[in-house]
Amino acid sequence: MSALVIRDLSVRLKKGPPLLRRVPLDLAAGEVRGLVGESGAGKSMIGKAVLGILPPSVEITGGEILLEGTDLLRLPPKERRRRIGATCALIPQDPLTALNPSHRIGPQITDRLVDILGWTRPAADARARELLAEVQIADPDRVLRSYPHELSGGMRQRILIASAFAAEPRLIVADEPTTALDVTVQKQILRLIAGMQARHGTAILFVTHDLGVVSKVCQRLSVLYSGMVVEDSTVADFFAAPRHPYSAALLAATPKYTDPAAGLNPVPDAVIDAVRAEVAAFDRGAPHG
């Protein structure tokens, strides 16, 4: 059973160039899929489209987003919002700006449970305490009463992860969740996400620019270039032998301390030209979006 199926998703700037070109994507229940690409490739646009948080300057021009079989794009806005709130969650990039500075931590974890899912407050509070214990926060009662500025960056990222898992979502979009962190903290947080994901059986769309991270936490990945999926592989296959020349070049450009020669191979112009031609050919063949 797929947690999420995306068919032919096309997104563009209002009256502007396309940002996503008929993107296909299949995410099995309990699977972690990496979305990789360079900036502007549209990787985080997919997650935003699923969660209904595309910026107002952007519009969806076609395709389907099937969440457990229901096409989100066909639901009336209010119902769509509730359904996303009940079954999906977001782990954002920057823990320093992702918590509201004027609310305490407790309500920021429980608000969805109480307001959208209709839990009682004591039940929601108990759940929050349980979640904080799961993300290894000692003294949960104090933390729940704290304001964000009283906590460290690593602590805040743990709270955001706890909050994402609060309503047992079927799908989590993790949008570059460790890009802002030091590499040692990144390791702890990635382990935490992987552990929670395995325990709860949640499917994750993992948006990142770092192929190293993908190789550690994902089972499958999609490589994007200019809003087009150029490769869709299992992680094992991809790192053994990438199929598309562009994704092969991207892998070769990623620095690697065990191999001083890696990481200084820019994507060759010929590869860029070829993949651009591919995008152009695609646009000619598909007026859609």
């Binding site: 700037l13 209002k14 009256k15 502007g16 300057s57």
Partner: protein, 283 residues
């Protein structure tokens, strides 16, 4: 997004042209007032008092916008009043800008004791109610064009100093200032060559705004009878006179008021428009 930007630009362009057009026409009218004004602005004729504008019943040909209670031609007085208004706007606006922006730039960029002194001065100045302060100054200096200009400069330099100081401080924290230091540029050189160009758009907006404010201050001072002299035509003086006869002769108030309104609006829109048009970063 691209489209949205061009739309903003079109609107900004229209705004720029409309305001520049009005101010240009006004400047021309002010220059040529002695030749194009249909009547002598000072000539009184009690038999022709409170004549309505020409399109109304009981009007007199030649008095296009009617006359005030002393029978003076409203249109001619507006045209002559524009001379005073624009002169005050240009001279007072420019001097205020030079002094205020310089002090603000020095305080915001150099920091330290320079900032301490200037900031404390600004604080003291901000504790004065500006209108009362200007009336007080005119009482001290005596009425006249020079006094008005001095009063505006003395009071309004803080408007520039405050904003420019904050802006210069923000720019001072940017790495291009550090890189000028690495390149070996001195402090004052960095301030003038690197920081000033980045603060200039703000200064231009403030300058045109200040010109509008100067026109208003002149009008306010005429209104409380402290401007040039009671006879010389000024917009504020006309408004003051119109306020007292508002139920009998609305035109004495309305026409100078509309002129003043459009002028003040044009000055502020001109600044915004110029900023949008000549800012390489926005372009």
């Amino acid at each position: 997004m691209l489209d949205g930007r061009s739309q903003v630009r079109r609107r900004a362009g229209l705004r720029l042209w409309l305001s520049a057009g009005w101010l240009g026409a006004l400047a021309l009218a002010a220059l040529l007032a002695p030749w194009i004004a249909p009547k002598d602005p000072l000539a009184q004729d009690l038999f022709l008092g409170r004549l309505p504008p020409v399109w109304m019943a009981g009007s007199e040909p030649g008095y296009w916008l009617g006359t005030d209670s002393l029978g003076r031609d409203v249109l001619s007085r507006i045209l002559h009043g524009a001379r005073v208004a624009l002169l005050v706007a240009l001279v007072a606006g420019t001097i205020t800008c030079l002094i205020g922006a310089t002090l603000g730039l020095l305080a915001g960029f150099l920091r330290g004791w320079v900032d301490m002194v200037i900031s404390r001065l600004i604080d003291i100045w901000m504790a004065f109610p500006p209108v009362l302060f200007s009336i007080l100054l005119i009482a001290v200096l005596g009425p006249g064009l020079m006094s008005i200009i001095i009063a505006i400069v003395v009071i309004d330099w803080t408007r520039f100093a405050r904003v420019v100081r904050a802006e210069a401080m923000a720019q001072g924290a940017m790495d291009y200032v550090a890189s000028a230091r690495v390149a070996g540029r001195g402090r004052l050189g960095t301030m003038v060559r690197e920081v000033l160009p980045n603060v200039l758009p703000t200064i231009v907006v403030l300058l045109t705004l200040e010109m509008g404010i100067a026109v208003i201050v002149e009008a306010i001072l005429s209104f409380v009878n402290l401007s040039i002299s009671t006879d010389d035509p000024t917009w504020g003086g006309m408004i003051s006179e119109g306020r007292t006869s508002i139920h009998q002769a609305w035109w004495v108030l309305v026409f100078p008021l509309v002129t003043l309104f459009l002028t003040v609006l044009s000055f502020s829109q001109l600044g915004e428009g110029l900023k949008d048009r000549f800012d390489p970063v926005l372009r």
